[in-house]
Structures are given as C-alpha cells and as structure tokens.
Symmetry: C2
Subunit: 205 residues, 2 copies
C-alpha cells in the first residue's frame, strides 16, 4: 500500500467527527463543500484527501454519510474499541477518566494508575486507581497498546519508557514536554499552551 | 508581509517548547539536527520552516537557543502575557484553572465562568467562579481576546457565539464538536478522541 502523508491522516478524524455529528442530526448525504465548511477545510482539499483511499462520492450526488464515516472508521481502525489506560490521576487524569467523549469514537478506558499511595485504591468514576508499580504487568497482560499520559512533565519520559516497554505504541501526552520514543511508537500532544500559541500569531495588534 | 502557511505556524510552538526545555537544562546552542530529533521533525524541515522568518543560525555553528526562542516568542506573539478566560467549570475547566503550564508560555487565566448556580461563587485554585451571565460584559471590559471552552458539546456553539460577540478571536475548544466561527476568529481543538484516532491508523494488526 502506498504511504499516505501524515498530514492527511491527521485530518481524517476531524472529517469523521463532523460526519458523525451530521449523522446524529439525521442527515444522510453531504458534499465536500458542506463538509469543508463544517471543518474549515476547502472542498478541493477534502476531495483530494479522500481520493487517496478510493472513490467515496459521485460528482453531483455527494457523499453518503453513513458509508463515508464507516469507511473512515475502518481506515483509522476505530471500527473497533481500543482499550486504553490513564496514567497520573491529577486533575487532568480525573477529567479524562470521567470524559464521556470516547464512546462511539473507538476507545474505552480500561484502567487508571497513579504512584501516590494516597490515591491508590480510591475510585474515580467507574475506576479504582491502581498502583503504578503494577502498570507494566497489567498493560502487558491485557495487551493494551494505547495510553494517556497525565503525569507531571518531570516524570513523563520515565513513565513513557515503562509504557512502551509494556507494549504501548500510541501515547496521548498531556505533559508539556516532548517525549523521545523509539521508531514505531507514536505520540500526540495535547498541550493547551501549544494550542493557544497556534492562534496568537494571527491576532492583530 | 508574505503569508506563512498555517502548517509552519503550527510547528513553531513545538520548536519553542523544545527550545525552552533545552534552555531550562542550561544549554546555550543547538542544531537543526538536535532540535529535529527532540520534536520528531527532519533537520531540513526545521531549517526550511525557520528560513521563512530570516536567518537564525550559521552553517556549522548552529542556533543560539536564547536568541531563537526569543524570536519565536516574538513571531508567535507570546513575548507578552495574554489574559484568557475558562468557560465551563466541569472536570476539564477545573484542571485548566489549576494547570501550571501556562506560566512562561504567554498566558494567564484571568477569569473563570459557569452557568450552574451551585458552582458560581465557589473557588477553584485562585479563582472565584463567576456567572456566565456576566461573561460578555466582563470579557469586553477587560479586552480579553483568548478563551478556553470547556462546556458540554450541546452548549459549545452558543457559548462560542457569546465569546466572539464579546471580542474573543481565539478559542481553545475542549468540547468535542466543530464550531462555526466568522472569518478572523480561530479555533484550536483539544479533543482527546481525535488525538487517539490520529495514532490508531498506524498500529499494526
């Protein structure tokens, strides 16, 4: 299979979210123009991105929303449910453990960990906080590949190393620090300061 | 001034974060190779990105970290402190209100809002939760341009409209929904499901 540029892959979840939103509103078809307006991308870009994966729509009739979103879920491999773990049960870890937005998006939080004895054993939503000391074994046993990292920046690299050693290959990193990871492991950063800095450039004086 | 592609702008905060990290470790110079390894971008890409803004380093001697990070802060307009507001004091709003990672990154949370009478008047970290009814006037009076949106998806568009009406032009959106905003207003999405979906594509079966 030819290699698809990462920038295209990074847009597909945005398209999928908009399509699922349309579906929830009872819509059945859309156009590259309408979808583009929803997500802030040109219609031409959407057609070009989707053309990487085959034919999705017909000139004039647009896209069948159900079909296109099913295909995108397949491509992104979220036509299944990935079990994930949350490491670090501070404010952000708590927020994620109670977050309702993973449902129907391909993910389920399976376990949550912390290394603070005062937190271990406490419950957060439906979860009992487990000891970080048991993390590696638990992740390996469950075959978990996806983790969310909410520990302080100073601990993030060390915890990431342990996650990777246990088989994790995809890390959503909330710690405001770049992680060094071996080839084959991917990291996405959710750093609010980065998000804000991407916008201030455009604010007129 | 020529228009810089958004994809380049979006990488600058990542470079800046890595440079600030190096600075904190006491380093004074770096190379496009070293910086690239830190952030997972090729050395050639870094040189190309930075060349959009002038000359930053000399062949062979590399970059002065202090100078380059100061210039990036200037370019991104985070050589000042932007006051921001948080709207929606659920778990995510709480986490952001207590987040220590805005310091030295160009932002300061000035006010936090919610529309729940049970929450209004309560304190979160150094903030007293204010009524969402007063939001527009307070933002306008303070001249605030940057907001973080942590309300449920169902309320996000309506709240965004009010923020924009009050003068906000940059919204960091934690609600898992695409916002429709007028030209001149920018939105960045911090949706954990999107972050995760950008990685599952790459996970081998």
């Amino acid at each position: 299979m030819k290699e698809i540029p990462d920038i295209i892959i990074s847009r597909l979840p945005i398209y999928l979210r908009a399509l699922q939103h349309m579906q929830a509103q009872g819509k059945t078809t859309t156009s590259s123009k309408e979808l583009g307006e929803q997500v802030g991308v040109s219609a031409a870009q959407i057609r070009k991105d989707l053309s990487q994966f085959g034919e999705f729509g017909k000139q004039g009739t647009g896209y069948n929303i159900r079909f296109l979103s099913d295909r995108l879920r397949e491509i992104l491999k979220v036509d299944r449910v990935w079990e994930t773990v949350i490491v670090g049960m501070g404010d952000m870890g708590h927020a994620l453990a109670r977050y309702q937005g993973f449902k129907d998006r391909g993910f389920r939080v399976a376990m949550v960990f912390d290394n603070d004895p005062a937190k271990i054993g406490q419950t957060v939503g439906p979860y009992v906080i487990q000891s970080a000391a048991e993390m590696g074994a638990a992740i390996r046993e469950a075959g978990i590949k996806v983790a969310m990292l909410c520990v302080p920046a100073s601990a993030a690299q060390e915890v990431a190393n342990k996650l990777i050693e246990a088989g994790v290959v995809a890390i959503l990193n909330y710690a405001p620090i770049n992680l060094n990871v071996p080839p084959g492991v991917r990291v996405q950063y959710l750093d609010p300061s980065i998000g804000l800095q991407r916008m201030t450039y455009y604010i007129g004086e």
